[in-house]
């Protein structure tokens, strides 16, 4: 970005907004908004506590397990939909409905079915992540060059060989894009699940902080979660760019 002929780094605007936050906080204009400096102090205070670390561990476990299930289920289903007209006709309406549906509304249903525990949170993660993974895997599988499919058939590939040796690899760039988007949605899933269950992990912490009106703690928690979510998205984006050369070289 250039301003009055000077090169201005991207992060400058962030500093500007943080300064504004600090001023508003110091002025005491908004009751729920403590100064940024106080929030940062709290971040260093709460992160090393056992309660926070335990919440982090539980969240990470639910997040990773949920994503793993979403990938293991979503990729084969998506590839199947991309290659089989019948499967596609059967499943596509559902995938599209769930992709745009307000999924938070379904979490209470999961809660009733599976109780107020880890299972519910893992399933919420799956529910948030899986649809976009299915849809992108489907798009990738539909785009596989017809001659590559014919090649697999003419050299005698079984359906499993065609899937594991051709389809999965030929659709890999789209599959990875789907997984990245799924992982980003899963962050929402894991937090919303915990907030609604509210006796596990960060949901529990949020519950304690907000009911006791510990706004500095509350914002400190929010800031750390934002940082995690941003880091996950950036990390996955970096990985995806590394396989991009390969998408371009497909013929």
């Amino acid at each position: 970005m250039k301003l009055f002929g000077y090169h201005v780094p991207m992060m400058t605007s962030l500093i500007l907004w943080i300064a504004l936050w600090e001023i508003l906080g110091q002025s005491g204009a908004a009751l729920v908004l403590p100064p940024f400096s106080a929030v940062v102090e709290r971040v260093f205070e709460i992160v090393p506590t056992p309660t926070y670390l335990k919440a982090l561990a539980i969240t990470a476990e639910a997040y990773l397990l949920g994503n793993l299930i979403a990938i293991v289920v979503g990729v084969p289903v998506g590839v199947l939909m991309g290659r089989s007209v019948i499967a596609d006709r059967l499943l596509l309406p559902w995938v599209n409905i769930f992709l745009s549906a307000p999924l938070s509304a379904l979490v209470p249903v999961i809660m009733v079915l599976f109780g107020l525990g880890m299972t519910t949170i893992v399933l919420t993660v799956v529910l948030f992540a899986v649809w976009i993974i299915v849809l992108d895997a489907r798009a990738g599988a539909r785009g596989i060059s017809p001659s590559l499919v014919e090649m697999a058939r003419s050299y005698g590939a079984t359906p499993w060989q065609a899937f594991s040796k051709i389809y999965l690899w030929a659709a890999l760039p789209e599959i990875l894009a789907g997984i990245r988007l799924g992982c980003i949605r899963a962050v929402k899933g894991v937090i919303i699940g915990q907030l609604l269950v509210s006796i596990v992990g960060f949901g529990h912490l949020f519950e304690i902080y907000s009911s006791n009106f510990l706004m500095e703690h509350f914002w400190a928690l929010v800031v750390t979660l934002f940082i995690f979510a941003f880091a996950i998205a950036e990390g996955l984006g970096y990985l995806e760019r590394r396989v991009e050369y390969y998408a371009a070289s497909r013929n």
Binding site: M151, K165, N251
Partner: protein, 262 residues
């Protein structure tokens, strides 16, 4: 020495096509009652105006698409799907871009469950034979079009099928590369006794390569004529292209095909 038109009597037919018709969904009639024999150990070309169903015929013989009527037999067995007795060479190469040349060439054997060491040894031998030694660990996007098709040919040779089905293999290869490739392919095949069924739209290519040329009419295709160019193989390739029999055959076919153009 002149080109002669002969009736379609095979020496020993390895591929027999009887009364084959193909109508695509939507009513496009690609083939109409096609019958032909492909002699064993020879190179037969399917030649015809573009869009005449040559590739459709080849893919039906490969077992990749079903016919509407009629039957295809290879070595006496009815074709119901792809089989290990036939290997396909694709117009657009159909190489796996994520795999090395070595894995691409060994892929047919990999699918058959041949052990890694054995299939890679076979693949290396064929890579060397098509003139790509030293490129085993390159990826397809690092190779030129001609080199990619050499990989496609090596892959087809590696599975040691009796019949090679080649779908316009040189059409995506530039002219100079093509000539060299044609010569190399002839010398590769002459030593092996493979039967080759070759689809092309180039008259020169057909006459230069073929023992037998099957001329197809415009869609819905029928066999219009079968020509066996009387050209001695093993001559200097440049001499063949100037040989009167070569030039006569090209001219005869051109006169035959001209009526389909308007």
């Amino acid at each position: 020495m002149t080109a002669r038109a002969r009736p379609a009597i095979a020496d020993t037919p390895i591929i027999e096509v009887k009364n084959l018709s193909k109508t695509y969904e939507g009513g496009v009639e690609a083939l109409n009652d096609v019958s032909l024999d492909v002699p064993q150990g020879k190179l037969t070309t399917l030649l015809g105006p573009s869009g005449c169903g040559k590739t459709t015929l080849l893919k039906i013989i490969a077992g990749l698409i079903p016919s509407t009527k009629g039957e295809v037999r290879v070595s006496g067995r009815m074709v119901t799907g792809p089989g290990p007795d036939r290997a396909f060479v694709f117009q657009d190469f159909a190489l796996m871009p994520w795999a090395t040349v070595l894995r691409n060439v060994a892929f047919g054997l990999e699918l058959r469950g041949v052990g890694r060491e054995e299939r890679e040894a076979v693949a290396r031998r064929h890579i060397a034979e098509v003139g790509l030694a030293g490129f085993e660990h390159r990826h397809p996007h690092e190779l030129s079009g001609g080199m990619r098709q050499r990989v496609g040919l090596a892959r087809a040779l590696a599975v040691d099928a009796d019949v090679l089905l080649m779908d316009e293999p040189f059409s995506s290869v530039d002219e100079q590369t093509r000539r060299k490739f044609q010569e190399d392919m002839l010398s590769l095949l002459s030593a092996r006794g493979k039967t080759v069924l070759f689809v092309t739209h180039s008259i020169e290519e057909a006459v230069y390569l073929s023992d037998r040329i099957v001329l197809l009419s415009r869609r819905p295709s029928r066999v219009a004529e079968v020509i066996e160019p009387d050209i001695r193989r093993g001559d200097d390739p440049e001499a063949i292209r100037r040989h009167p029999a070569y030039l006569d055959t090209v001219e005869t076919i051109w006169q035959g095909l001209k009526r389909y153009l308007d």
